[in-house]
Symmetry: C2
Subunit: 113 residues, 2 copies
């Protein structure tokens, strides 16, 4: 994910949130959606995406469904019940992370909370 390694650890959160919002998506679609939303600033590589999706599947957070579209196979991913719960957790963790990082780098935020 580019030269900025702050994104390390956030891939799962990104995937879960997008699936939470779109019901079902396939791999390539996820990479394009991320690129679109971040205006090209963040590009998910396939070498990161697919292992991550497979892990989500193995952990029971997503279900998969193959479908043929335009004579080409697509593997759709969708959240399970467990995946929806985990999405909530991950988003809360992201909020905590942002709040703590703001406090650390911006002294103005230190007395707030």
């Amino acid at each position: 994910m580019k030269t900025n390694n702050l994104y390390k650890g956030s891939l799962t959160t990104i995937i879960l949130k997008l699936l939470n919002e779109h019901d079902k998506m396939y791999g390539y679609e996820i990479t394009q959606k991320v690129k679109e939303i971040t205006k090209g600033e963040l590009n998910i590589t396939e070498g990161a995406l697919y292992p991550s999706l497979h892990k989500l599947e193995a952990d029971g957070l997503v279900d998969v469904e193959f479908r043929k579209v335009n004579n080409r196979m697509r593997k759709y991913y969708m959240l399970t019940e467990l995946g929806t719960q985990e999405t909530v957790n991950k988003l809360a963790q992201l909020e905590d992370y942002i709040r703590n990082m703001r406090a650390l780098v911006n002294p103005k935020f230190r007395t707030l909370d």
Copy 2:
């Protein structure tokens, strides 16, 4: 750093910013300052901190200075010129990261900017 792995990749940014703000600090002081600012939510482990500080030193971003305080050695770290420049870069990257993550997880922010 706890169970939240979003912090992966942010340790360097945290250290640089604290050094930028305090002129000189020693390792243990950094761990305590982080704990204090985040109200205990983030604890930097020594196994992460010292290798990171040594890398910053090897890369010429910090200078070191040993000093004996209360009959105990302290190794103080302070930013070099290069380190100050890198701090600016890292903080800008953090802002970009937060902006992109907000856009990804909060559709409301997508039309802004």
